[in-house]
């Protein structure tokens, strides 16, 4: 099998699995007080699952008054996409319109599938196929989820508030394979829980980011710098 078709198979496997999350995003977003249009706007334009869940999570707890914290949390969660872009930019190439579309689709999954391919043809195929499958799938399932959420009405009776926490846990889980991120996760959870009763909505999440900056700067419990890709 050629590198290209191997990459396309990986794209379908990852893309279809991920696109299904869109249902939970759409339903939770409507439950957080956004309308169907606002929910779809996030999936169409922001197009980064972690940031989207963060924005709706903070709007759910603090409403529009927590808007500043919602924007800041979404942006902080989006910083990793800038690093992914550095990794995929060398094999994307092409004119600026193509690069801008590539930038829009530079997310966890497109980076993971493309950088796992051995050849440049495979990398390009992996990036673009994963991108198009997830973009179309994520937006369709977001719309379906939002319409379902709209029909459900009172969401806590259906446990949708618990589903939001489970969704964040699912995004966090694959990142906990080494000691350093586990320690950061525990530290951040402690900071957020300690501040929760005392500060406005959204602030506990931003304060927890300080844990990542401190541990990241000192590389406490981390590997030697050379070992980090």
């Amino acid at each position: 099998m050629s590198d290209r078709s191997t990459a396309i198979r990986a794209s379908f496997a990852v893309g279809l699995a991920v696109a299904a999350y869109g249902i939970s995003f759409g339903a939770l977003s409507v439950a957080s007080g956004l309308d169907v249009w606002q929910t779809c706007f996030l999936s169409l334009v922001m197009f980064s699952g972690g940031s989207q869940f963060a924005v709706i999570g903070i709007l759910a707890s603090g409403g529009a008054a927590a808007g500043g914290a919602a924007i800041a949390s979404g942006a902080l969660l989006g910083t990793r996409n800038a690093l992914y872009a550095l990794r995929v930019a060398p094999f994307i190439g092409g004119p600026w319109p193509k690069k801008i579309l590539a930038a829009h689709w530079t997310i966890d999954e497109t980076t993971a599938v493309s950088t796992a391919q051995p050849t440049i043809e495979g990398q390009r195929a992996g990036f673009w196929w994963t991108g198009v499958i997830i973009y179309v799938g994520w937006n369709l399932t977001t719309l379906i989820g939002a319409l379902i959420g709209d029909l459900l009405g009172d969401v806590s009776a259906y446990g949708l508030d618990a589903a939001a926490a489970a969704a964040f846990l699912g995004l966090l889980w694959p990142r906990l394979r080494q000691l350093q991120p586990v320690v950061v996760a525990i530290g951040a959870a402690a900071v957020a829980a300690a501040l929760l009763p005392f500060v406005p909505a959204g602030i506990p999440v931003l304060a927890a980011a300080v844990v990542a900056v401190v541990v990241g700067l000192t590389n406490w419990l981390g590997k030697k710098p050379e070992a980090i890709a």
Partner: protein, 101 residues
């Protein structure tokens, strides 16, 4: 700020960060420390969001059906159950507890 303004500004910020990676020379940002901080930021923010979603109640803490639902979710993720099924199981757990209590 309205909800629309929040959504548009946050979307522009996230999109701009993606574009930034195509604009800056890789040598500047590919150093280990910024890369490590960005990865740990994701972990810290997700972890804090789990706490807020599980325990938050207005401006305070509440222990309710969301806690056992999260425990169920953690167990299922450990068993490598697919994301969408785990999220549904968590919602179902919380809904059942609320129905029965």
């Amino acid at each position: 700020m309205t909800i629309w303004q929040v959504i548009i500004l946050a979307s522009i910020a996230v999109l701009a960060l993606k574009l930034l990676g195509y604009l800056v020379p890789p040598s500047i940002v590919q150093r280990p420390t910024p890369a490590r901080i960005a990865n740990l930021l994701t972990v810290a923010l997700l972890s804090a969001l789990i706490v807020v979603q599980t325990l938050g109640s207005g401006q305070g803490i509440a222990l309710d059906a969301r806690v056992p639902a999260l425990v169920v979710a953690a167990g299922l993720f450990a068993l490598r159950v697919p994301f969408i099924l785990v999220v549904a199981a968590a919602a179902l757990t919380a809904a059942l507890i609320r129905l029965l209590t």
